[in-house]
């Protein structure tokens, strides 16, 4: 990518006492992309995010946001950042609106009432914004958290486990929303999560962290890419005939046979080939589903192997 990165981590290391928590981390996030930061619990995701927003000191290396060092030029660097760090904890005794006013007063440029209302509308909290946050549901607090992060139109959005505790509808809404702002407003989004399926749907690129080390950065397309094999389940009838056909044509693609379906391991192109084969041999195809993403396998393979 030829674009200038919004945020750059150069050789970032964090040590507490003698323990190295983050070890020589290097990565860049560009405008308009959603970057997923994936890793098991305790891998160092939250520590990395805390260093990115200046809540923690960096032992070695530097973090640049629009070329301003977060340590040496904190106020300039952080002005570009909006974030939710872990659960969005708000002042419970204040209304949602007062919470936003509180954060609006803390940025150098003036944030108008119109902008506050605009953001409130964006996250769908108009009805309850004058109520005390103490009475909000977790989902509403997440939305308010998103509202405070977007208030000053940042160019980098940092979200730590944004879908934690949300119901499926809420997760989907947040996911769509994140993709939309990244792509339409050319914002860089840095999301951390330990949920693979979530990342796969939300991100453009994914970095995998384990034991404080970044072990892989790949674009989601490459990750679940066309070249790698996937597990595909075919619901077909008659079953025996179909299994026979596959064995005689491709040999080893059949993994297992279940009640009314065949599990296969095929490439991206293979999915279409197999379907065509079935159809031309007059086998009825009732369903084709991807039963295990290779991302998950890859992730387990990577994180499991690094011990």
């Amino acid at each position: 990518m030829s674009k200038k990165p919004v945020v750059e981590l150069n050789h970032v290391t964090k040590r507490i006492g003698k323990t190295t928590i983050i070890d020589d981390l290097n990565l860049q996030v560009f405008p308009g992309e959603v970057f997923g930061f994936l890793g098991p619990n305790g891998a160092g995701k939250t520590t990395t995010i805390r260093m990115m927003v200046g809540l923690m000191d960096i032992t070695e290396g530097e973090i640049l946001i629009h070329n301003h060092s977060i340590e040496e030029n904190f106020e300039k660097a952080i002005a570009h950042v909006g974030g939710i760090i872990e659960n969005p904890e708000m002042y419970k005794f204040l209304s949602g609106y007062d919470n936003l006013v509180h954060y609006a007063r803390m940025v150098p440029k003036k944030i108008s009432k119109d902008r506050i209302h605009e953001v409130v509308k964006l996250v769908g909290l108009e009805e309850r914004i004058k109520h005390k946050v103490g009475n909000y549901s977790l989902g509403m607090r997440q939305r308010l958290g998103l509202a405070q992060a977007l208030l000053h139109s940042p160019s980098l959005l940092i979200l730590d486990e944004p879908t934690n505790g949300l119901d499926p509808a809420g997760i989907r809404e947040i996911r769509n929303y994140i993709r939309q702002i990244a792509h339409e407003e050319n914002m860089a989004v840095f999301v951390s999560s330990h949920l693979l399926s979530e990342m796969q749907l939300m991100c453009d690129r994914i970095g995998i962290i384990q034991n404080g080390r970044l072990i892989s950065v790949e674009s989601v397309r490459d990750f679940v890419g066309t070249s790698s094999k996937q597990k595909i389940r075919y619901h077909v009838s008659p079953l025996d005939q179909a299994v026979e056909l596959l064995r005689s044509t491709y040999g080893s693609v059949v993994e297992s046979v279940g009640d009314g379906f065949i599990d296969t391991t095929v490439s991206y192109e293979g999915i279409a080939d197999l379907t065509e084969l079935f159809v031309t041999h007059h086998i009825r195809v009732y369903g084709i589903e991807n039963i295990q993403s290779t991302l998950e396998e890859k992730f387990l393979e990577m994180t499991g192997g690094e011990k």
Binding site: L55, D57, F74, K76, R105, M106, V107, G145
Partner: protein
């Protein structure tokens, strides 16, 4: 650059939108009303028409005391001073200030600065520690505001709360006092004994001075509580230590006053009235000495608060 005023405004919003704050302010007002009710309806009304007689008797007793068991140094000056003032009152026909007058009532009410100290300690203790326990510190510190400004705005807000409470106490005690006893006595002078002669000074100025002296103790304890709150991130610890010291500190220093080193202890210096209206705790202590010691403690408390808040990694 984020305006400091905005930050102070934020802290005020967070402080005054909490019920607890208003309960404290309500209790201060309630205490003044309680004192008013006590002095007006329960305390024996002494229509002291023969106050001159009483003062003469008192002076006679004091003189006798001086002759029978000669006091030395400070004790002697205190008695001499009392006698001189009483004589001046008799000569010039100036009644002593009574609790049942607006000024006397206000003077009694200055004792409630102790309650204000208590409440301000509570406010100071929660200022920083609460942000940690609420978890809001994480969203608070990722704004384009330096931590120095942040902590300063919190400290200023705490001090302004104390100031607001003191002004409220002053005005409300005047209000209650003048409703109960009328405002006739306002012109009454306050008598000071200075180098062997008695002088008349403004009574209101004297009451404000009383507030000022009581505030020294208040400010030091509040700053201490604020420091503990920041360093240990625990409001209960800060409240506990600060209130414990607020009540026991002066007694402890009194108890240990025979030791020379006690004069370097904070509590030996917080009561500046010991120089204007009493005897210094340890001989040789002066106003200048105490103010210097207080300043040193103040600088230590605030610097420690600032350094810890600025350097701390915010985890959990």
């Amino acid at each position: 650059m984020v305006n400091m005023m905005n930050l102070i405004q934020n802290e005020h919003m967070k402080l005054y939108k909490r019920l607890g704050t208003w309960v404290m302010i309500g209790l201060i007002l309630f205490a003044v009303l309680g004192l008013g009710a006590f002095t007006a309806f329960i305390m024996e009304s002494n229509e002291n028409t023969n106050w001159k007689e009483n003062l003469k008797i008192e002076n006679a007793q004091l003189q006798k005391q001086l002759e029978e068991s000669p006091l030395k140094g400070a004790g002697e000056t205190y008695v001499q001073k009392q006698v001189a003032i009483n004589e001046y009152r008799i000569d010039q026909d100036i009644r002593p200030v009574e609790s049942q007058s607006v000024l006397g009532f206000m003077m009694d009410a200055t004792n409630f600065t102790g309650i204000i100290a208590l409440f301000t300690i509570v406010v100071a203790s929660s200022m920083v520690a609460s942000e940690f326990s609420w978890g809001t510190i994480k969203l608070l510190l990722i704004r384009p505001v330096s931590r120095t400004k942040m902590i300063l705005s919190k400290y200023i807000t705490t001090v302004l709360f104390a100031l607001f409470s003191l002004v409220l106490l002053f005005l409300f005690s005047f209000l209650v006092g003048s409703i109960l006893y009328g405002v006739e006595g306002v012109g009454q002078p306050y008598l000071v004994y200075n180098n062997g002669s008695v002088e008349e000074t403004n009574m209101i100025a004297h009451i404000i001075q009383l507030f000022g002296f009581n505030s020294v103790d208040l400010l030091m304890m509040v700053t201490l509580a604020f420091m503990i709150s920041t360093v240990f991130r625990s409001s209960s610890l800060a409240i506990g230590i600060a209130i414990f010291l607020l009540f026991t500190g002066p007694q402890l220093t009194q108890l240990l006053s025979s030791y020379e080193w006690v004069k370097y202890v904070l509590f030996a210096n917080t009561n500046l009235q010991q120089y204007t209206n009493g005897t210094p705790l340890v001989e040789g202590m002066t106003m200048t000495f105490s103010i210097t010691v207080l300043l040193i403690y103040f600088v230590i408390f605030t610097t420690l608060t600032w350094v810890v808040f600025k350097k701390r990694d915010v985890a959990a």
